[in-house]
């Protein structure tokens, strides 16, 4: 298995995460930079949030999006007619691009789900030209992603299986302090810099928070989809109490932070 992320329904992904990831994409692009005419790679492009954010910029000459999940790639490819965008299906650990064939590489919220992140980084270093920049971001599940900590901590208090799922999620590769930058250095990248990128997730009310989780993809969805109806109802009630936290149901804004790193190919 080349990815641990259950990816089937692109629209469900969009409701859970795709409405937020464009905000993070802008931050990652600002951190990594862009130059006129570059061929830019988006590895683990998913539903295309980063690739489309790149296409909103004038600098890229070509934008290549690669992902292993066919439903996500089809969704991404249908989102824009910008002729600079090209999507295909590929495996990050066995990348299908020639050596030094791209100028700059990105990976947004994907490396931690890959079965072999170190191989993916080695492949990025191979396909990016010497002197080119590689930049990536992964969610800080442990300390940065408030909406998901509310979910897992509430579920774990009700169910030992949720506690185990939370432990797996919080120990995902590269998602704890310093791990992403260390992986960049281990891949031989030079001038490695790390930072935290933060966005806000603004929910209209509990239903806006709950429905995307109820129909989620990925680790959250894998857990929720297995719950029998009465346990699901108990979780929903506990989550509503946690979301409202003693106040009236209504808008809430949760911080969402990702670890980011960039480095150049030596």
């Amino acid at each position: 298995m080349a990815s641990t992320y259950t990816a089937g329904d692109a629209a469900a992904y969009e409701r859970l995460m795709g409405r937020w990831s464009p905000l993070l994409a802008e931050r990652l692009i600002a951190f990594a930079g862009l130059e006129k005419g570059e061929t830019v790679l988006d590895l683990g492009c998913g539903t295309g949030s980063l690739a489309l954010a790149l296409a909103r910029r004038t600098e890229p000459g070509h934008i290549l999006g690669v992902d292993i999940a066919p439903p996500y790639v089809a969704y991404a490819a249908a989102r824009s007619a910008d002729p600079r965008l090209a999507f295909h299906i590929g495996d990050a650990a066995r990348l299908d691009l020639a050596d030094a064939s791209v100028d700059r590489s990105f990976s947004l919220l994907a490396l931690n789900f890959m079965a072999a992140p170190s191989r993916a980084l080695a492949e990025l270093a191979r396909v990016t030209r010497p002197g080119g920049t590689i930049a990536a971001a992964v969610w800080d599940f442990t300390g940065g992603l408030v909406y998901q900590r509310i979910f897992w901590d509430t579920a774990a208090a009700l169910d030992a299986a949720a506690a185990r799922a939370r432990a797996r999620q919080l120990s995902s590769p590269l998602t704890n302090d310093g791990e992403l930058a260390a992986a960049f250095a281990a891949a031989g990248l030079k001038e490695v810099e790390a930072c935290t990128l933060t966005i806000r997730q603004a929910y209209q009310g509990f239903d806006d928070y709950w429905q995307p989780i109820r129909n989620a993809e990925g680790p959250v969805g894998d857990y929720v989809k297995r719950l029998p109806p009465e346990r699901l109802a108990a979780l929903e009630a506990a989550l509503e109490a946690a979301y409202c936290a003693g106040g009236a149901d209504g808008p809430r804004s949760f911080a969402a932070s990702a670890w980011a790193a960039k480095g150049s190919v030596g």
Binding site: I68, P70, F87, I89, R94, A98
Partner: protein, 75 residues
């Protein structure tokens, strides 16, 4: 594949290689396949999207390999 299948992006075609051997590919436009002679595999293209997964590729038979070896790669 129909005649209306979207074409693969030309820039992508220039830089795609076989994920197994990293060798250049031959584009069979009629069959909508990208062929790796070294690996003996044909990667399918569906709706203009190349599927560059070894597990999804079609194994070439001996007659196909012989014909490809005999024909010079396109310029």
């Amino acid at each position: 594949m129909t005649d209306h299948a979207p074409d693969v992006d030309p820039r992508l075609l220039e830089i795609l290689v076989c994920p197994m051997t990293k060798a250049p590919l031959r584009y069979d436009r009629a069959a909508q396949e990208l062929i790796s002679l070294e690996a003996g595999l044909a990667y399918p293209i569906r709706d203009g999207i190349p599927i560059m997964l070894v597990d999804e590729a079609r194994a070439l038979d001996e007659a196909e390999k012989a014909a490809l070896k005999a024909a010079p790669p396109p310029p």
